[in-house]
Symmetry: C2
Subunit: 317 residues, 2 copies
């Protein structure tokens, strides 16, 4: 439990090491996460989502800087599910953040799903815990896309900022409708572009249809690149947490998230067990061969995998 102790003392190198262990699905990571678990729950976790091209990364950088100016410690997790294909995290370097990475109170980490067994969402939740126990005040989770895993990740945060951009066409309309309900704060970024005012109005109209109890999501203008509108967003982040605490919604939401997390971890563990077992007896390969040859259907094959898993139990790996 050396790592856990060091992390709780605020050792930044231990933090980096723990995150790497989590990403590598190292069993030791779980031990550390168990040990630090009751030191978590203090950080305010903020999801940043929206379509590609909305300028989420730049905006997140500026928010981090502003909150840091207000005396806070900040983590940014850039989640990029497409990176399994690249052989290297796309956002890994994030050159434009060079001025932030030299700041001891700001920690940036990119996460891809390359080589990840058991899912990116599961690992992201682990990394959030590591940052939380370490003592970060704010943890930003920035996603590249708007797919299922991003939605899953965003559901696990306290405050979601939906970043839109003027005039990206019809598909964006569809996405807007789809993700409207997950936003707590709406930002129209690149507000100097044509159509910004119309996008603001559309968002406000759509929000009128939403049933919210006690919290009316603000629609804010920003130009991330020029640091315009950043303070206002930070104020609203703080306001939203106040609301969550006072309305007792924070406890309820976090309890619901815990349920999803338990299931995610269980599914991830099972996947790891299945792969480990396949390395021993080739069961998965043999079944896949049969299914590919149409000698068996994948549902029956899957039942066999589950039965083996059940018969083996979870201690034998």
């Amino acid at each position: 439990m050396d790592l856990a102790k060091k992390l709780l003392k605020g050792d930044k190198r231990t933090l980096a090491r723990l995150i790497t262990l989590i990403e590598n699905d190292d069993p030791h990571a779980i031990e550390v996460l168990k040990a630090i678990y009751n030191h978590t729950g203090k950080a305010h976790v903020i999801g940043i989502t929206g379509p590609p091209g909305a300028g989420k990364s730049t905006l997140t950088d500026k928010l981090a800087k502003e909150l840091n100016k207000r005396g806070k410690k900040i983590a940014i997790i850039a989640v990029d599910p497409t990176s399994p294909f690249t052989g290297g995290a796309i956002l890994g370097d994030r050159v434009r953040m060079a001025d932030l990475t030299n700041n001891p109170d700001v920690f940036i980490r990119s996460m891809g799903s390359r080589g990840t067994l058991g899912g990116l969402a599961k690992n992201t939740l682990g990394v959030i815990k590591a940052f939380d126990a370490y003592g970060m005040d704010y943890i930003f989770v920035e996603t590249v896309g708007v797919g299922q895993s991003e939605v899953d990740i965003v559901k696990a945060v306290d405050t979601t900022i939906l970043v839109m951009v003027p005039g990206l066409g019809d598909d964006i309309q569809a996405i807007k409708a789809g993700i409207m309900e997950i936003g707590d704060i709406f930002v129209v970024n690149k507000a100097d572009l044509e159509g910004a005012h119309r996008t603001m109005m559309e968002l406000e109209t759509m929000l009128d249809f939403r049933q919210d109890e006690g919290w009316k999501p603000p629609v804010l203008e920003a130009i991330g690149r020029d640091n315009i509108g950043i303070g206002q967003i930070c104020d609203n982040i703080e306001k939203h947490m106040d609301f969550l605490v006072k309305s007792d919604k924070l406890g309820y939401a976090r309890r619901e998230n815990v349920k999803k997390e338990i299931i995610e971890i269980a599914k991830g563990s099972m996947e790891v067990h299945i792969f480990n077992n396949n390395n021993k007896d080739n069961q998965l390969e043999i079944l896949a061969e049969r299914v590919a040859n149409k000698e068996q259907d994948p549902y029956t094959a899957s039942d066999e995998i589950l039965k083996s898993f059940i018969n083996r139990g979870i201690k034998n790996d």
Copy 2:
């Protein structure tokens, strides 16, 4: 097995019913899918992916029309992971496709993850099988986003078309890098927009870094809205399948996909079992309460869930 027989005879109403059963996680769907499984594998499955705003839907419609003109039967599955939040599939109506929906040889279905236990990817794979056994020649799987689940779905197809659009800024660059490796055919849509030529050149330069054996992904121009470049894309779809068959890559890729599918089904089944069991004894709720109160960590709670699952077996639900 009535449904299976009717489906194999080409009954369109049965097809629609089976898809609904799959979406509703109805156990009867699995029985039908098992019965039809050795009638699958004939269709050419094509993934259409790319950033929002690239005009994927319009392009897919035009491709379907063109292939239909060539005497083929076509299914389009529009996958929209964001729809759990909307209380209704965003792409559900797809008004612009009205002329296609009246065509007896074209079948369009939108899939969201609302209420889906066990994952959207699992269900999409089931729907692909239903279309395949029914006798569709081409099955298009069109995704809204570029997240993990889309990537998972796209990995399960035979040919992936990556649709790009000129000048969407830096984030798009990142996504391009990330998804470059999954494309078999690249289309620069809306090629009448400024910057189209530059985007084509960028794509070609990036593709030079790719290690491909025997297949050099073409970069094609198109204007979906005006039906320009559609025939050429269809030709390349056919060419790619020829290549897969002749190089024996088709068999290999489908075998690899089967492995992933077996795991997906297993994870989905376990999730369903856990939820069903929770309805009986509240185990998940009780554990979540404890974890939320920091009396237990989620990893230990998850182990308990797995142990109960293992002890119960999979027959008791």
